[in-house]
Symmetry: C2
Amino acid sequence: MKIAAVEAIPFSIPLRRPSAFAHGTLSRADHVLVRVTTDDGIVGHAEAPARPFTYGESQESIVKAIDSWIAPAVLGTDPFARERVRDSLRWLRYNHTARSAVDLAIWDVLGKALGKSCHQLLGAFTESVPVVHIIFAEVPEAMGEEALRMRDRHGIGIFKIKTGKDPVVDTKAMRTVRSALGDGAEIYVDANKGWTPDEAIRLLPVMQETGITMIEEPTPAFHPLARRWVAGTSPIPVLADESVTRLGEVAREVLDGHAQLVSIKVARTGFTESARIAGLCEGLGTGVVVGSQMDGALGALSALAFAAAYPGTSKRGAELGYHLELADDIAAAPAIEHGRMTVPGVPGIGIEIDEPKLQHYRCDQD
Amino acid sequence: MKIAAVEAIPFSIPLRRPSAFAHGTLSRADHVLVRVTTDDGIVGHAEAPARPFTYGESQESIVKAIDSWIAPAVLGTDPFARERVRDSLRWLRYNHTARSAVDLAIWDVLGKALGKSCHQLLGAFTESVPVVHIIFAEVPEAMGEEALRMRDRHGIGIFKIKTGKDPVVDTKAMRTVRSALGDGAEIYVDANKGWTPDEAIRLLPVMQETGITMIEEPTPAFHPLARRWVAGTSPIPVLADESVTRLGEVAREVLDGHAQLVSIKVARTGFTESARIAGLCEGLGTGVVVGSQMDGALGALSALAFAAAYPGTSKRGAELGYHLELADDIAAAPAIEHGRMTVPGVPGIGIEIDEPKLQHYRCDQD
C-alpha cells in the first residue's frame, strides 16, 4: 500500500456568531480539507484550520505547503511509515496545521486499512471523555447565560472563559459565570497572552475567589521572564498553549518553569508528535489538556480519538465542542451527552465527508 | 477480541560460554516465555529475562507476578486497550520484565490480528539497523580475537566492551580491542556500575586515546553526586542504563545531569512505555541506544521491531546480538549480515516458537 494522492481543499463555513478572544475575532471557519488516497483506493481525511495569529498560516499557505512540499515528500510512501513521513519533512519549518493534517489523514487511512478506529490503534484507554465548552468574550451577562444553556442542553460541567482583553471586564466575566453555574462546575480561563504579568498576578485573588482551576497563556508566549514570574507566583497552575506548538517547545516551557500544564492540540502536532508530547509530559509529571484549535467536526473527531486513547489525556476535560459554533459542517461529530463525547468506534478517525456540503463550502472552485 | 489466557512458562538454555561483567557471570539464559491468547485464537509471544542484579526478578517471581497479578488484571481486556492494561498495573511496583513481556506479547497479538508487523504499527522508519556486538570480560587478547571474529563473520562494526572490574585490565582490554579492529570500528564501554567516580575519570584519557564513543553506567546507579561528577567531567557521553528502568527515572537522570544518553530496553519497558521514553528523550534532545537485556531470539526480535521504527532509535547501533551467546533457542532471530539486522516483515514481532525445543528447555515440567 502506497500513498497515491494528497489533496488540499480549502473550505469556508460561517460561524453562528463571532468568536471573540483577546487579540482577535473570527466570523468564519477558514479550514483546509486534507484527503490522502492510497493506490488501493483507501481514503483518509483531516482538516487544517488556518490560524494566522498562532501559526502564521492561511488557507493559501496550507494549500501551497501541501501541494508543493508535503505531498511530493509523501507520495509513494507506505502509509504505515509515519516516521519516514515525519522525518522527510524535518527540513520544513512551521506550517504546523498543514503537516499535522497530513499526519492525521494518514492515520485515518491506517485505521480504515486495518478496520480499526484510531482510538484503538493509539491505545484505547477509555471510550468517552468529558467535554469543555469554550465561552468566548461577550458582555459578561451573556457569558453566564451561555454557560447555563450549554449545561442544560449538553450536560457540560467544564467551561473555559476567554479573557485577556480588560481585567475589569474579565473579573466581571469570571464572577458572572461562576454565579450562574454555582459551585459544581469547573471553570478555567484563557487570556490568549492578553495580560501583562502584573495584571495576571493582580487577578489571582479574583481567580481564587471564583474557583478558577487553570490559567491558559496569561502573558505573551515569548516573554520568558514575565512567564516565569506569573507561573512562579500563581497558586493556580498555568496552562501553556501558544508557547508549546511542538515537542521541543514543550520541554523548554516546562523546564524553564513557564507553565505547570501543557495543551496538546492534534491540529498542530498530529497524532505522531502528540504521542511524543504525551510521553514527555508523563515523564516529567506534567499534566496535559487536549485543546481546541477552534476545530470543526473533523478536528473534534481527531482530538477525541487522541484524548480517549491515554489515561493522561482523558483525565481532564477535552476541548471538543467548538464545532457547535459552526453554522454548518462538511462532516458530523458525535453528540455531546451528559457532558461527554464518545468515540464513534468505526474504522479510522470516524470522519464521513458530506460531499454535497463540501462542494457548497469549498472555495477553490467558481 | 478479548484476552483469554496469559501463560508464563519458565525455560532455561545454556550459554555457549559464560558471560562475565562487572558484578556477575551468567552461564544460562533463565527466561520466561509469555504467551497471550485471545478468545478468537490469536497467540502472541514475548520473553521475560530474569535479571536479579538489575530488577530483582527471578524466573519464579516473573511466573508468580504474571499468574497472580498481571494475568487477572489483563484477562477479558481488548488487546487494543494497551493503555488500560498498563494503567491497571499502576499499583504494582517493579516486576519490570514480567509486565513488559506481557505488553510485548499483546503487541504481537495486535500485529497478527491486523496482519501487520509491530515495526509497521510502531512507525516503520527503516527496515534494518546496525547491530552492536557485546564483548564480555575475558583476558584482553581473547576479547580482541572475538571482535575480529564477529567482524569477519557478521560484518559487525560496533562493539561494546564489558569493563568495570579492574581499571588495569579494562585499560588493556580497550587498547587490545582497538588495536585488533583498527580505526574503522566504533567501540564503547559498559562498566555496569563497577568503577568509582575517580576511577572512571582517571580512565578518560585511555578512553579518548582508544576512541571510546560512550561510557555506559560507569558508577553505581544510585549515587547521584558521583554520577553528576563523572557526567559533568567526561568529554565522552555517559549512557544511562541500570539507572533508567522506567519513564520517570529517565527524566530524573537526564535532568539531574547524570547522563547524556539513555538506553531503551523493550524487555524492561515494553513497546508502550518505551515509545514514551523515546518521546521524552526526543523532546529533551537526548540520544538513545536500544540496549540488550541479554535477550534471546525473542528479545532480539522485539528490540529490532522497536529500533527500526523511529529515526532516533535506529541512528546508533542497537544491541541485538546477544542471542548468539545462547547454545540453542526456542525461536530464531534474523541473521546479522553486513553488520545489520533486517526486520522480518511478517505479522507481529516475528516470533515463531519451536515447540519441541520449548518442551525440551522449559523447566516447569518434570
